[in-house]
């Protein structure tokens, strides 16, 4: 523990700026994955343990698209759209068969899928770790604000992720689709009674969740090493975020993600050897005090 270092960081503007942006960037990338986990749980009541594998696929799809096109934008979209399509197949082929099954049976199905996906990635892309390489547009000197350092690429990621978060929020709260999704989360039989095909709604949520995870994988790819199994760490953190924010709440996922990001960025200064433990403590405390999470139960 190094509380004096933490205190001295908190009174230094440059440290606060750097660590806060660092927390934001960690948190916002996490958000893109966690939002999907949260939505899928909120609407489908499925704990999609395989969402980390979606993220991994997004990164690999983007890698291949980047190899072929050399265009980062195309690569990111390939990640997002590729995984959205994959999410559709995954939902129709596997998950739709275990709706209403015990949560542990769903977990088993997801586990089987993860094993297969990790192995397929190894077969297709090889056992070695891959590096995406930084697109040349972002190979620039970082910005410096008040002594705090922010790389151009991260600034880009923050803007993109916030924009996606905003669009997602609008989609869920303002559109007809959003209303249906929220209604399906609370009362699926009511939605189907209104003549809406809940199967389509469920599949669309998986597609949306897959799109977000794939996007996250593609966006993060230039600063990650790609390996089979890279989804594992992010899925555990996504669960923590989902629990803290409140399962099914997009706003909760955003706040939870940023909270986890900040805990990690400031925690590494104050408690360098126990940042992971810190996240689980946070999760346990939230569960005990407010089991439904910071943003309660309310709809999606």
């Amino acid at each position: 523990m190094d509380l004096s270092a933490l205190a001295s960081c908190l009174i230094t503007p440059s440290c606060v700026i750097t660590q806060t942006t660092s927390g934001l960037i960690i948190g916002l990338l996490l958000f893109l994955v966690a939002a999907g986990v949260s939505l899928i749980f909120g609407v489908l009541k499925v704990v999609n343990f395989a969402h980390g594998a979606f993220y991994m696929l997004g990164a690999y799809f983007a890698y291949t698209a980047y190899q072929l096109s050399g265009n980062y934008l195309i690569a990111v979209l390939a990640g997002g759209i590729g995984v959205a399509l994959f999410g559709l197949v995954f939902e129709r082929l596997l998950i739709s068969r275990v709706y209403g099954s015990p949560v542990l049976m769903q977990l088993l199905v997801c586990y089987g899928a993860i094993l297969i996906l990790d192995d397929l990635v190894k077969i297709i892309w090889g056992a070695d770790f891959l590096s995406f390489g930084m697109p040349s547009a972002f190979q620039q000197l970082p910005f410096v604000f008040a002594g705090g350092v922010v790389p151009v690429f991260y600034l880009f990621l923050i803007v993109v992720a916030l924009a996606i978060a905003g669009l997602l929020g609008l989609l869920i709260s303002k559109t007809r689709y959003g209303k249906i999704v929220r209604a399906a989360a609370v009362n699926p039989s009511m939605v189907s009674a209104l003549g809406i095909n809940t199967g389509v709604v469920y599949a669309s949520v998986f597609v949306l969740g897959g799109f977000l995870a794939g996007l996250a994988g593609g966006l993060a790819a230039p600063v990650r090493s790609l390996t089979a199994g890279m989804g594992t760490s992010i899925i555990i953190e996504s669960f923590i975020v989902t629990v803290i924010g409140g399962m099914g709440s997009v706003a909760g996922a955003l706040v939870g993600s940023i909270l986890i990001g900040l805990v990690r960025s400031f925690g590494t200064i104050g408690f360098p050897l126990f940042t992971e433990g810190l996240m689980f403590v946070l999760m346990a405390v939230v569960l005990v005090l407010k089991p439904s999470g910071l943003f309660g139960k309310g709809g999606a």
């Binding site: 660092s22 770790f129 390489g133 930084m134 790389p151 993060a220 990650r224 089979a228």
Partner: protein, 421 residues
Amino acid sequence: MTKRAPNGVGRRSVLKGTAAVAAASTIGFPFVSKAQNKPIKVGMVTVLSGRVAILGSASQKGAQIEIDAFNAAGGLGGRPIELIVRDSKAKPEEAARIAREFINSEGCEILLDADTSAAAFAIQEIARETGILTIHTNSETSSLTADPKLHVPTAFRSARQGIHDAIAGGSYAAEVSKAKKLNRWMGCSPDYAYGRDSNKLFFEYLKRFHKDAEVIGESWPKLFQPDYTEQLTKILQSKPQAVYSCLWGGDLTAFIDQSSIYNLFAQTEVFAINIADYAVLTAIKNLPKGIHSGSRYLSTFPPTKENADWSAGYRKKFNEYPLNWSWENSAGTKFVLDALKKTNSTDSKKLAEAISGASISVPYGVDGKLTMRAGDNTLINYSTGWGQTIQKDPFVPDVKSVDWKMILDLETEWKKTMKYI
């Protein structure tokens, strides 16, 4: 990168080997019975899946190259070696189970532990229990062989060791520091046993050789952590003149990629001991210039024809660069093969006696020789040195060797402070 299934490599080359032996025996020994031709089974426990799958694929190839040569030369009096490789999925209990399975169900007479350090400790206990000849080919944790409490007479290590690397790295970094006046240092190493040990020892020896060096902070990413932003910003806040890191593999490439966008390399000297390994060097798309690195394995170090040939042979056979794990497993296998030839027996005790204190001729040893030190059953005299990166092949053109006499003297001293001797 090879797309061949690792098992496929094994089976095919065994077949080839057996054919060669069969051919030899029809000419030389027409009456050799089938029982005598029964292959000698060597079991390798390693990781073939998940994030460190590359460890297993390189280890297997390293061992295979020696075994194929041995089989092609007639095996042990007509008996070929069969290498069986299994995946522990990086779980120590699974590694232990597979090791037992090799011994109890598969009839393996020799064990190659090419797994991670945690598994190495588990397998060490099996070696103790069963007395089987065991070579740890990948674990670099010094205590595995240095701590007499863990000693097993039939277990050896054919890998580099943290203490040797720390002494070598510390002395090299001290020299650079003195020249460039690098006094303010930080560490950024993975938060697990290897990372913590390596970090601690590196700075210990750095300060010993360079009195003005001062460690102003440390940051501890988790093993396999995808994102180093929080550690990097912490480093930037502290403004050190130099940073030491023993991150490795995919973690290291991600760290380098992320450091680049923070422009870290322009602000500080970075000493990353594990860069000079082809898996890392070739993966990073924009390898920054001037990173100081220890040699893991380089075709150009030692700068001998033998080494270049060995590397070229490996690349020809497997269509990929040899890695640090490749030579470590080649070396371990060669110790075993030499002992088999010398004793003409598969008895673990006899083999262990033959291996203890033995030297083998290999290009990646100092002056072409590696020694398995008697007493603590561990590898010494492997080529080790430091140099700076450039952007393309040969990546680290000028490697400065480190003197093994100094390493060994300081190692003895370290063992005393650890109360190992």
